[in-house]
């Protein structure tokens, strides 16, 4: 008996490769432990052994509780054989390049990809300098100029940590045009351009102060007549009421109320603990399948076998339920009168 027990112990030990040597050779410890458990000694019958095995596994109940009864697995839709093709999402594309997007008047977003081949090329060009160099974003302000790489109004650098693939760039001025380079900068000032982005323009962030007016007739789309704002000040006075002092109201944006924003929004709970309880009464019964049954005068739908079941929410107080059935021929009638009382007492 002792031996049998120690064997089962050894099974456990086997899982740990370091102690493999012990296999089949019970150590003193396991023998002693097994001996101190008389219950196990009794495990003679296979049935008991089974139970023991089960109880040995912590956390697994002997029987699956009725509530967690698993339903039969539905067969998968035939198209599931194609699911494997839905993993062809690529992470990168093997091309060096950088793309710039404007987000708002003061922020740009750049994403890029740099291939190992481009890095190799940079290594060649920069030589020994490469090892001490850094990857940078060089941001050029190019409003109203045809950019040739050297004629920007101004530029600034952002040093990138390795492995970055995108970055938000804060720019100091709104309503300007920008281009961004990704490149490798050596301490000596040597610069290797990896890729140059598209040009973008950032929008305005306030009411424009240009107030010349130009009007167009949609009938003659291209014939425009300009009214030089001679009565400049007058116009301004006229419009200020229309603009109003109010700027854009943020809470009026769509993000707050959209068909996609919900549906899950939990309210702030007034107190930490809450409890809700409700009662319902189930009225059920059976009769001949072709009979007619009413509860309080309302007809009840019978199942094919003549059984029926309905439920009512119960509130406190007395409730009357008149259940009556009438045979199909109309010759027989039976009525039950139920009285149900509910009282609720709340203790706090």
């Amino acid at each position: 008996m002792v031996k049998k027990n120690s064997e089962s112990k050894n099974k456990k030990v086997k899982a740990l490769p370091a102690k493999k040597v012990n296999a089949g050779k019970p150590s003193k410890k396991t023998v002693k432990k097994a001996a101190s458990r008389p219950v196990r000694k009794k495990a003679k019958t296979p049935a008991l052994k089974k139970i023991l095995k089960k109880t040995l596994l912590p956390g697994v109940p002997a029987e699956i509780p009725v509530l967690e009864r698993k339903e039969e697995k539905k067969p998968l839709h035939p198209s599931h054989i194609y699911d494997k093709y839905d993993t062809m999402f690529q992470d990168s594309y093997g091309e060096t390049g950088i793309v710039l997007l404007p987000r708002d008047p003061y922020w740009l977003f750049a994403y890029w990809e740099v291939t190992p081949a481009s890095i190799e090329q940079a290594k060649k060009v920069l030589g020994n300098d490469f090892n001490s160099s850094k990857t940078i974003l060089r941001v050029y302000e190019i409003t109203n100029i045809i950019f040739n790489g050297r004629n920007a109004h101004s530029s600034f650098d952002i040093i990138l940590e390795n492995l970055l693939r995108s970055w938000y760039i804060n720019v100091p001025l709104s309503e300007k045009n920008w281009i961004v380079d990704i490149g490798i900068l050596a301490p000596s000032g040597k610069y290797f351009l990896l890729s140059r982005s598209n040009a973008v323009a950032t929008p305005a962030d306030s009411i424009s102060n240009t107030d010349y007016e130009e009007w167009m007739d949609s009938a003659e789309s291209w014939k425009m007549y300009t009214t030089r704002a001679g009565a400049n000040s007058k116009n301004r006075a006229g419009t200020c009421g229309i603009y109003g002092a109010e700027d854009r109201a943020f809470e009026a944006s769509s993000a707050g109320v959209s068909s996609l924003a919900g549906p899950v929004r939990f309210e702030n709970k007034a107190s930490a603990f809450w409890l809700k309880a409700g009662t319902e009464i189930i009225v059920y019964g059976a009769t001949e399948p072709d009979a007619r049954v009413t509860i309080n005068g309302n007809p009840v739908r019978l199942n094919a076998d003549g059984s029926f079941s309905t439920r009512f929410a119960l509130t406190d107080g007395l409730h009357l339920l008149d259940i009556s059935g009438r045979s199909a021929s109309g010759n027989y009638k039976k009525t039950f009168k139920l009285r149900v009382t509910q009282e609720t007492y709340k203790e706090e």
Binding site: S79, M88, T210, T239, R248, S259, L314
Partner: protein, 525 residues
């Protein structure tokens, strides 16, 4: 003679969600809820206004994905099943609440409404696009289009052909289902960038909308601010949103929908009732979901809720309609003084706000439009097309890049949670254009594959995915959808390049992602 105009604009949109491979798909419920909580209740309002001889104008954008879903037989059948289940549930509920007259009342209201919705849904052969079309033909409703899949255009413009395709495909979808060229467009998320008007003009679109700052920050400063449209340089008109009227309805804090007597959205029998009882009416996988039967009113800011009373809520809706009317009258009177033309107040809303979020919304509109017609002469409702007809001469301005999202910029759709998308969307657009150029006259299977590529690209571009990632609801679903469409796109791309198209798979994917059956990939040329 009216002194000014009000243009109500309802933007009706849902992303294209259709899963034939699942019996019951959680996210498809958005669509069914929208039909039976918003679209049909709104259509019934229009129906009754017309019956009663009330003249009114509303502008509605029906986005191409929504039109395609409304016209899809599989989804139509599922929608019918949805409303039939609701009828059943309401019948059961009428009995269950027999001892609770305050709830019983509400259950009866639902039963009445669900039966009515079901009847009208069947009357229009399960395709309510035709019902919308009826009011458009009567001249009451101006239906405008949107991006083909609600793609966020300013973040797509690095390849303008992709923007072009979004507009072109949308316009041809609109023509197919509504029988006419759309005059206007609701830019997806109201997101404008300078230059998009050229693409609009090429596709015959005459006006679009921007958010308030889109015109307030325009160059030069528009003389009438947001209260008259401006022309962009190419003659396409831009209308701008009015803040005041928006806030009265939109705002979560001050807006009408927050009134304590209105129906509480978040208490639904799908979550409140006994599991076994409600199980046949929630998701087939046993997940508790909203059913649409809600018994409580907002009551207050705490958890404590009282029973909903449709009668009192109706009175509130009338009261709010009166208030909205009064405010618009005052606004128009004030504006008209300083202008040489009648001001136009543009009030755009997500259509789903009316009915789905704000249950009494359609009722509010009904009261409001009746009051506008019968009770005052200060202003009239109008469509943008009619306004442009009355005032063909407008100031020329360059609107400012903007959106109607938080802060009015692109930030909602370009931030930490969703910026990874654009790398892939841009690449896919470039690949699409490359293949279109390589095969400008494809036939047979190759043509089908290229058309399907265009569908997958468009579906991946929907701004809804980025929005969901940002708002952190159903994030997993949004990521999966994007990746699935991009994966399918990539497979098609590689199959075409290897000259080896997987026909059985193509058959399936054409059936599954069947938006725009009429699509022509040459939109990317």
């Amino acid at each position: 003679m009216p002194k000014g105009y009000l243009a109500l604009v309802l933007h009706a949109h849902l992303p294209y969600i259709r899963h034939p491979e699942h019996e019951d798909f959680l996210e498809e419920d958005w669509f069914f809820e929208a039909i039976f909580e918003t679209y049909i209740p709104l259509l019934l309002v229009y129906e009754r206004l017309v019956e009663d001889g009330v003249d009114f104008r509303i502008t509605m954008s029906l986005t191409p994905p929504l039109i395609n879903m409304l016209a899809d037989p599989l989804l139509q059948d599922r929608a019918l099943k949805h409303i039939e289940k609701l009828v059943q549930l309401s019948e059961k509920e009428m009995r269950r609440t027999e001892f609770e007259p305050h709830f019983n009342n509400v259950a009866k209201m639902y039963n009445w409404k669900f039966n009515e919705y079901r009847a009208y849904f069947l009357k229009y052969n399960k395709n309510i696009v035709n019902w919308f079309k009826k009011f458009s033909d009567l001249g009451k409703l101006e239906i405008i289009t949107c991006g083909a899949t609600h793609g966020y255009l300013p973040l797509m413009r690095v390849n303008e052909k992709a923007v072009h395709a979004q507009i072109k495909v949308a316009v041809s979808c609109h023509k197919k289902h509504l029988g006419k060229q759309p005059n206007g467009i609701w830019l997806p998320e109201c997101a404008y960038y300078p230059g998009v008007e050229n693409i609009l003009k090429e596709n015959g679109i005459k006006f679009f909308f921007v958010d308030s700052h889109g015109l307030n920050y325009a160059k030069p400063r528009p003389r009438y601010g947001v209260f008259a449209p401006v022309f962009t340089r190419n003659g396409t008109a831009a209308f701008a949103r009015d803040i005041e009227s928006s806030k009265q309805v939109w705002s979560a804090k001050e807006g009408y929908p927050g009134d304590f007597y209105y129906r509480e959205f978040y208490r639904d029998v799908g979550f409140d009732l006994d599991y076994e009882y409600i199980k046949p009416f929630i998701n087939a996988d046993g997940l508790r979901t909203f059913t649409g039967m809600k018994y409580y009113r907002i009551t207050g800011s705490s958890d404590y809720k009282e029973a909903y009373d449709p009668l009192i809520a109706g009175h509130k809706a009338a009261e709010h309609a009166g208030n909205f009317l009064f405010n618009r009258e005052k606004q128009v009177e004030h504006l008209a003084k300083g202008m040489d033309r009648k001001p136009i107040i543009v009030a755009p809303y997500d259509a789903e706000l009316y009915g789905h979020w704000w249950y009494e919304g359609p009722q509010f509109l009904d009261f409001f439009l009746r009051k506008v017609f019968f009770d005052q002469d200060v202003f009239k409702t109008i469509t943008p097309s009619e306004y442009l007809k009355e005032y063909p001469t407008n100031q020329v301005c360059a609107p400012c890049e903007s959106s109607w999202g938080y802060k009015g910029t692109h930030e909602v759709w370009l931030e930490g949670s969703n910026d990874w998308l654009y790398r892939h969307l841009h690449k896919a657009a470039d690949r699409m254009c490359g293949l279109a150029e390589r095969f400008p006259n494809a036939h047979g299977t190759l043509r089908r594959a290229l058309n399907q590529m265009a569908r997958e690209l468009l579906l991946a571009q929907a701004s809804d995915w980025a929005f969901i990632m940002k708002t952190k609801t159903n994030v997993g679903y949004a990521i999966n959808e994007t990746k699935d469409h991009l994966s399918r796109f990539t497979k098609l791309y590689e199959d075409i390049n290897n000259n080896c198209i997987d026909l059985p798979w193509l058959n399936w994917i054409e059936y599954k992602d069947n938006i725009f059956p009429e699509i022509d990939y040459r939109a990317y040329l």
